[in-house]
Amino acid sequence: MTAQMKQKEEMKNNNSSSQHKIVFLPESLLNGSIEREKDISFVTLRHPQTGSGALFGFGPSDTSVYEVTQFSEEYRSWFIGESVEQDGILFMMTPFDPLFLLLPYLKQFHNLIFSEVGGLRVFRYNANKVLMWLEQKVENLLRELKRQNICVSGGSRVATFIPSNKEMTPSNEMYLQYVYELLTEYLSEDLGLELKSHLGLETNKAEESSACSTEEPPQKRAKLNDAVEPEEDYSVAVTLESKTKTKESKLTTSQKRLMKADKTGMKNIQSFFKKKIN
């Protein structure tokens, strides 16, 4: 049996084990494709945080980038119409700001030249502007989290997706910390640290670590190397959830100091904007 034949055989077997994938995606991604007759394509790109490969999608009709994430559980399968799919993974394609992908490169080379249609534009990495750009993201996220009333007591995305109960009113500091953690998933380590100090989150390091989920190293983003591998294990939420109570009591002891830190952090943001607008 030649190697190729073997591979063919293997492929056949694989087909019987996994056939369908379920994907949530923006409808707009599909609508543009009718006239253009193009496909959605997937490629592995260097993830801005981890530096290793992650799966991204490109729409058929525009230049938008989409991040491909997956929600999986060990014991989950699909019934799709009149068939069974053993792989219970849910894939999602969500918009991705391409600047997150560019920043590590720009930072590395400081000066980078992009040729564009009809001319040449030079982009220069500007640390201040990067932080201001991130501040806008922080503000947008704070607004969205508060609107959705998502509990932000945990240290990682996993824990914090537990919607808040009425007894727990998260402080602004907790929101800020959570937003920071969400954003660091898209930032290189050093840029993440810059943002942290910029937001005034670097003080109270000791309290922070005790207050915000020491059980899990926060925001270890899954690398989506291969669409078949389940890598984000959201079932962890169950164990984290059971520990919420003990965490809570810890939080209240450091609440005062956290609030203090928060104020300075917010002040930073505002003064930053004031100075720069002229």
Binding site: S17, T94, L99, V122
Partner: protein, 153 residues
């Protein structure tokens, strides 16, 4: 890290699968060790009934075990699609092709004997979509000229 390349053929999906032809999808809390055609409506769907004790909750059973389920609507503007991998001539290239074979705007999510709640993955998935939009919506330059991280010369 293996390089992954792939694409989904989406051409004409709307004509092929009009909205009245939604695929019925159930997410079930067990690992079934095979994939392929199965008489789902006979052995599963036809046993679904409303849970009289809990409004909006469905109940059914699978292999003799009780299941509690809930219909979940996809977030506005989103559609669920079923992608089927397309056989291609075998090459060493890890290039995968998928074809859309159906779509849906709601699915049913099942737990063992436990009422689906806000803590369930699919609810979180919907939240993630909103958070992702808050993180990734590109910032416009109109309000504040300074917020773009790149200097243009």
């Amino acid at each position: 890290m293996s390089n992954y390349k792939g694409c989904v053929e989406v051409q004409g999906w709307k004509n092929k699968y009009p909205s009245n032809n939604d695929v019925v999808c159930h997410s079930v809390p067990c690992h079934i060790k095979c994939s392929g055609p199965a008489p789902v409506s006979n052995f599963f769907t036809s046993y679904i009934e409303p849970d009289e004790n809990n409004a909006g909750i469905l109940k059914s059973s699978f292999r003799g075990r009780p299941l509690r389920g809930q219909e979940i609507q996809l977030p506005e503007g989103y559609v669920g699609v079923v992608m089927k991998s397309v056989d291609k001539t075998v090459t060493d290239e890890p290039d995968k092709r998928f074809r859309m074979t159906g779509h849906f705007r709601k699915l049913t999510y099942w737990n063992w004997d436990q009422i689906p709640s806000q803590n369930d993955k699919f609810v979180k998935a919907a939240q993630w979509i909103k958070i992702a939009h808050a993180i990734h919506t590109p910032l416009t330059l109109s309000s504040k000229q300074q917020e773009h991280p790149l200097d243009t010369e």
